[in-house]
Symmetry: C2
Subunit: 228 residues, 2 copies
DNA sequence: CGGCGTCATTGATCTGCGTCAACGGCACCG
DNA sequence: CGGTGCCGTTGACGCAGATCAATGACGCCG
């Protein structure tokens, strides 16, 4: 077996193959894509891309959770997006990475040189179409988040966040990939406010906190009411 | 002359032709696109799309300014984006319009049935590519806006907004397409806070207010400092 | 097991912005 | 010209959430 076939084989066994942008590609195309990509493991906390750097690479997420984030000149952070397995990160067709990308958990990504990826994409309309649909969805999600940031109270923000996070995870008891500070950075709040709200919601029986990262949603309907 | 050629002729004379997503299309393609689109004038305040409706149409903006907006269950509005000539509006490849679209000024748009447009786009990779690049840029812009909404003070927000609006318009004296309330809805503030900040900035000599809609930026550098 | 560092919780206080209310200015219209 | 209505401005006040500060709960490592 050559290296390429080995890698192609690897690609076919890829756990996110059917959900990622590569889903529609045929056998030959996958092999080409494979030859320009490579796997990389990231430790929790490891930075994949730095805001403002040249946009050298793009990637598919295979395992783990990453965050996209930026900060104000005085250092306050805002998380712009969370990225889960099968999601795509990076800025194709752009010179500059407009936000930082960092692993929140141990993670695995499938990396491409941006220029290689751009060329491949332009030659494969089906891939570009997938990427377009994904980008449009991401834009919708981001705009919903804007409503949250601009017009919701702290309680509405946290309730919305918990419900959305729960959707991503297995039923009932969910393990938060985010620390309190990171949740605050997602919602445009401070860590103290987030912590107080967790305590309040626990006291009111909406949620249970088995440990700091283990949250159980006890009354989703009531939580939805709080989310507004 | 048939209707089609007339319309094709019309398209070539289009003022946004070179900047809109149709820019890369050749003569024949333009004619096809033309045959499935039509012009429409909108009065200031007229609604083009309603949030939550079926996504029936998409459009290019030819003239005027439109807003994309949504609201919380208790009626507070958040403007999600402003759309200028040559920009694209609507949700291709989606079932539901995720936000309302309303003309802020008298406007002219070039409308397509979404299903027609989707089909055309899938058959014309160059158009899809344009649309992808545009969507990626819009996503970048939207994410920068998230930082503003989540982490900036009222003054930083307004200063940023004024600078960005000035970029869009002719040098020096700019005519705001937005009312005070709409500016507040863009920035996630109240009309009173916006009004107070305008007064404060005028008093400090940063801007001049010739009339309610006429703003002149006197000290852009200082404004940039305030924007953070 | 104990000491240390990190993260989270909780309390006390402050403040930026929202809320409520009154007023002012400009356009429009009879 | 004066009335009417909308939009914007300004002031007084209150509160949600930020800030400042202390304490608590874990995990880690020697």
């Amino acid at each position: 077996m050559t290296d390429v076939t080995q890698e192609a084989h690897f690609c076919q066994a890829c756990v996110v193959r059917s959900r990622a942008i590569c889903a529609d590609l045929d056998q030959d195309e996958i092999q080409v894509l494979n030859s320009i990509g490579r796997r990389r493991n990231l430790a929790a906390g490891e930075q994949l891309l730095w805001e403002g750097d040249e946009a050298i690479i793009v990637a598919n997420v295979v395992r783990g959770v990453l965050k996209l984030s930026t900060q104000t000149s005085d250092g306050k952070e805002q998380i712009l997006g969370l990225v889960y397995p099968s999601d795509f990160v990076g800025r194709p067709f752009g010179q500059i990475t407009p936000y930082g990308v960092q692993a929140l958990t141990e993670a695995e990504v499938c990396i491409f040189q941006r220029t290689d990826f751009d060329r491949f994409a332009r030659e494969h309309p089906r891939l570009e179409h997938k990427l377009l649909e994904r980008t449009l969805k991401e834009l919708d999600r981001t705009r919903r988040w804007m409503l949250l940031l601009g017009r919701m109270t702290a309680e509405q923000k946290l309730a919305s966040f918990l419900l959305e996070t729960a959707e991503r995870a297995e039923p009932s008891s969910l393990t938060m990939p985010l620390s309190r500070q990171q949740i605050a950075d997602v919602l445009g709040l401070t860590i103290e406010t987030v912590s107080r709200l967790f305590s309040k919601m626990k006291m009111e029986g909406l949620i249970d906190l088995q440990s700091r990262r283990q949250v159980a949603i006890l009354r989703p309907a009531e939580l939805a009411v709080r989310a507004g």
